[in-house]
């Protein structure tokens, strides 16, 4: 059974596991954790379409699968198109009486940041623009982690990756992260949200709303990657929480075009706390950190203006 009503307590999360253990995700994997909760929300009557990436590789090494749902993987750049195909087929077969018209089957697309921001962007755009009834979840670990931590369009400013290495001339990624929510927003789809596994009730309720949307929805989830971010395996949730507390990651929701901050942060922590926890930022100088702080301040200002209130407060040391 899908979770169709927002929850208020952690105890309302279904006990049943639909993305089971024994998979090969790294210790402390943020994305695997998100999939556990996502599948709990969508329940049995959901078809999962997974782009190539960490989650596909770690969950389906033949002859086993971690999934209890019908699941399809075609390639890296086509989760949007494949999900469109599944949704169209369900629609046609229901209309033609092959499938029960009264049974709602949700199509859920899952892709990483590479499969969404970069190589899969065109396919995602087509799916959103055509209005397919698909819930698209992007797990964002901010680089191509499956192939060994290469830079993607989602890699944040300053981050070390194997293709934005730290050297004498260049010191990590020198461009800001691509705004995937802004891109989705430009498609005028009914539901867009950002989520974070350190805020499970907020995350689950966003999955519930995306599930209940009839039409395209996109949930952008931050998923810390312990080897890629160079953090201890036990710190996944801690670092994810700091992303929100520092304003690096704002928990947003855009319902029918109306933006809202769902988890307000009255007093922000300085970004230093978030950056200092992670090996991928260890090369940053005080000056670099200051620049990132300014970037975040500006981002927070934009968000506050957009939602029409001071949802994210000032930095307090």
């Amino acid at each position: 059974m899908a979770l169709t009503k927002p929850i208020k307590s952690l105890w309302e999360i279904p006990r049943e596991e639909r993305f089971v253990g024994g998979h090969a995700a790294c210790q402390g994997c943020g994305a695997a954790l998100v999939l556990r909760h996502l599948t709990k929300v969508v329940g049995k009557d959901a078809i999962i379409v997974n782009a190539t990436g960490c989650m596909e590789v770690i969950s389906t090494l033949f002859p086993r699968t971690a999934w209890r749902n019908p699941w399809l993987h075609l390639a890296f750049e086509n989760a949007g198109a494949a999900a469109s195909g599944v949704e169209a087929a369900l629609k046609a077969l229901q209309r033609k009486g092959v499938l029960d018209k009264n049974r709602y089957i949700k199509v859920v697309a899952i892709a990483g940041d590479g499969g969404t921001f970069d190589i899969g962007l065109q396919s995602l755009s087509g799916m959103l623009e055509r209005g397919h009834d698909v819930m698209y979840v992007v797990y964002d670990n901010e680089a191509y982690m499956n192939t060994g931590i290469q830079r993607s369009g989602a890699t944040p400013y300053g981050a070390w990756t194997t293709t934005t290495p730290v050297g004498k001339k260049f010191r990590g990624e020198w461009r800001p992260k691509k705004d995937i929510v802004g891109i989705a927003y430009a498609h005028r789809i009914p539901y867009i949200a950002t989520a974070n596994p350190a805020y499970p009730i907020d995350m689950i309720n966003k999955f519930v709303k995306a599930y209940n949307t009839r039409g395209p929805s996109l949930v952008h989830v931050l998923t810390p990657c312990t080897p890629g971010w160079r953090i201890p395996e036990s710190k996944t949730i801690e670092v994810a929480k700091l992303a929100v507390q520092t304003g690096m990651w704002v928990l947003l929701e855009i319902e029918n075009g109306k933006p809202k901050v769902t988890v307000k942060v009255r007093k922000r922590k300085p970004v230093r706390e978030y950056l200092k926890m992670q090996g991928r930022f260890r090369h940053l100088t005080e000056e670099d950190i200051k620049k990132i702080q300014e970037m975040v301040d500006k981002y927070v200002e934009e968000i506050n203006r957009w939602v029409g209130e001071e949802a994210i407060g000032p930095v307090e040391e």
Binding site: F19, G21, G28, P63
Partner: protein, 120 residues
Amino acid sequence: MSTNQEEGFPERFLGKKYPETMEDLPIAAIVPWPGSTLDVTTHAWRTFRPVINQDKCVRCRLCWIYCPDGAILEVDEEYTTSTGKKYKVSFKVDYDHCKGCGICANECPVKAIEMVPEMK
């Protein structure tokens, strides 16, 4: 979705769960065994194992929520603490699937989970 499913798949499309030769393979390596990674144990990944102190545990469910491997089991087992507090559920570690990441211990608000070295 039971429509037209009455016939079921022909046997040869399904294969055998633990194939030995090509003839046992399901068509296109399509896996008809949902949740079968549970047959895999990941205990060897651990260098530390989480041990839950049932007496200290306040049953907040956070360890269960935050486990990426579904390796914290929530069981309907009553427990009475030494101070007389009664709980209807208990949390236990599934040591077959725990990889020892330690998120549970790190997030436990009452420090009821200790990470114990696997080898001394």
